[in-house]
Amino acid sequence: MSVTLASAESTPFEIAQAETPATTHETPADTHAAQPAGEVHTETGVAHGEEAGSGVFPPFDQSTFASQLLWLAITFGLFYLLMSKVVIPRIGGILETRHDRIAQDLDEASRLKAEADAAIASYEQELASARTKGNAIASTARDEAKARADAERAKIEASLQDKIAGAETRIAEIKAKALADVGTIAEETTAAVVEQLIGAKVTKAEVASAVKSAAGK
């Protein structure tokens, strides 16, 4: 209880202390300007009554105009200065950075798209050239194979031709030999036939001329 009492006692004392400098401050103002309005402002309760009594509507109280104008000039000037030097460049910078970033991203996107398009185009070109090359390789291979096959066939045909020619020569030889032998056989046969028929020996010359004349007919 004693504590609360002490604090309760100290409170009015503090108020009194606080009020004292205010009144001393106020005194020179009063003596200089001798305005009752000066006192009025410190003690709101009374002030209000007197203010209303004097019939001055507070916003039209001209005694406050000079101070309001001065402080408005100071504060608005400061406000304008801070705005134009700090806040506006800052927000403007943020917005500009964002615009730049968006534009940059769009550029990047279009660049990547162009790259992708180029890659697709080159891929298709590669594909087409590979196809052409493949076709070329296939056709050369086919041509080579055909050529080789043709050459092979020609060689074989030639060798066959040779063999045929050889065989034909041999046949002709054999035939000629056989034909050559035919006269001798005919003479021997004729001599033997004549001997058997007439029982007389005929000379080889007679037989040969007879055969010759028979063959000549």
């Binding site: 401050h25 106020e26 103002a29 200089h32 300007a33 000066g38 402002h41 410190t42 709101t44 309760g45 002030a47 209000h48 203010e51 209303a52 509507f57 507070p58 916003p59 039209f60 109280d61 005694s63 406050t64 105009f65 000079a66 101070s67 309001q68 104008l69 001065l70 402080w71 408005l72 000039a73 100071i74 504060t75 608005f76 400061l78 406000f79 304008y80 801070l82 705005m83 134009s84 700090v86 806040v87 506006i88 800052r90 927000i91 403007g92 910078g93 943020i94 917005l95 950075t97 964002r98 970033r101």
Partner: protein, 250 residues
């Protein structure tokens, strides 16, 4: 706290300053001007601290307000008007922050003082006049001579144009001031009904329900008005600046 609805607009000295017999005291109005600067700059500064490429929720609020005013100015005054962007953005954010701070109970509303709104309006018109003459010389006066008006009507039209130009700072300042003042007074009156009625006992408490709902609804409306008036102030500033940038063409 007094129940008088105009009490909230009282300017109280915090640090008395007097120079040459003129009172330049640091008052509660000055305090809330400083608070407006701190809150407005602080919000925009700290929400954009991350400089996120993908903005956070708060950062996108700052970016949206930036782009909102930038597109408003570009539509209103063309690309030549963009040199006034810091000015218009400062005006909009200052008025908006002051209005919004004023919505906090017990806070002083800087923009409910006619001298403040008038000073801001004169700043706008002064900028228009100075820039208009600086850029176009006497060609700026073409502003008062609309093209395609027959010679007979010209004196009349020019008179009307001059009067409308002169009334701009008045309408610009009164609009903002009156909206903030009236809104806060209305809120205070309805909130006052709640307290004074509920002091009357059970019947009074029952009767206080309606003004309580009104107070809640009006608070919502006042937030809308706070934003809307800052927006209107900025839009009109853009339109007036357009006259300075392009005085001939409408």
């Amino acid at each position: 706290m007094s129940n008088d609805p105009t009490h909230q607009f009282l300017v109280n000295k915090i640090v008395p300053i007097e120079i040459g017999g003129i009172d330049f005291s640091f008052t509660n109005a000055s305090l809330f001007m400083v608070a407006t600067v701190a809150a407005g700059i602080g919000f925009l500064y700290f929400t954009t601290g991350q400089r996120g490429l993908v903005p956070s929720r708060m950062q996108s609020v700052s970016e949206m307000s930036y782009e909102f005013i930038a597109s408003m100015l570009r539509e209103g005054a063309g690309s030549h008007g963009m040199k006034f962007f810091p000015f218009v953005f400062s005006l909009f954010m200052f008025v908006l922050t002051a209005n919004m701070l004023g919505m906090v109970p017990y806070f002083f509303t800087v923009t409910s003082q006619i001298i403040v709104t008038f000073a801001l309006a004169m700043l706008v018109i002064g900028t228009v006049v100075v820039y208009g003459f600086y850029k176009h010389g006497f060609g700026f006066l073409k502003l008062f001579v609309p093209s395609g008006v027959p010679g007979m009507l010209l004196p009349l039209v020019v008179t009307i144009e001059v009067i409308s130009f002169l009334s701009r700072p008045i309408s610009l300042s009164i609009r903002l001031f009156a909206n903030m003042l009236a809104g806060h007074i209305t809120l205070k009156v309805f909130a006052g009904f709640v307290t004074s009625l509920s002091a009357l006992g059970a019947v009074g408490v029952a009767g206080a329900i309606l003004p309580l709902f009104m107070t809640v609804a009006l608070t919502g409306l006042e937030f809308l008005v706070s934003f809307l008036q800052a927006y209107v102030f900025a839009v009109l500033t853009c339109m007036y600046l357009n006259d300075a940038v392009h005085p001939g063409g409408h």
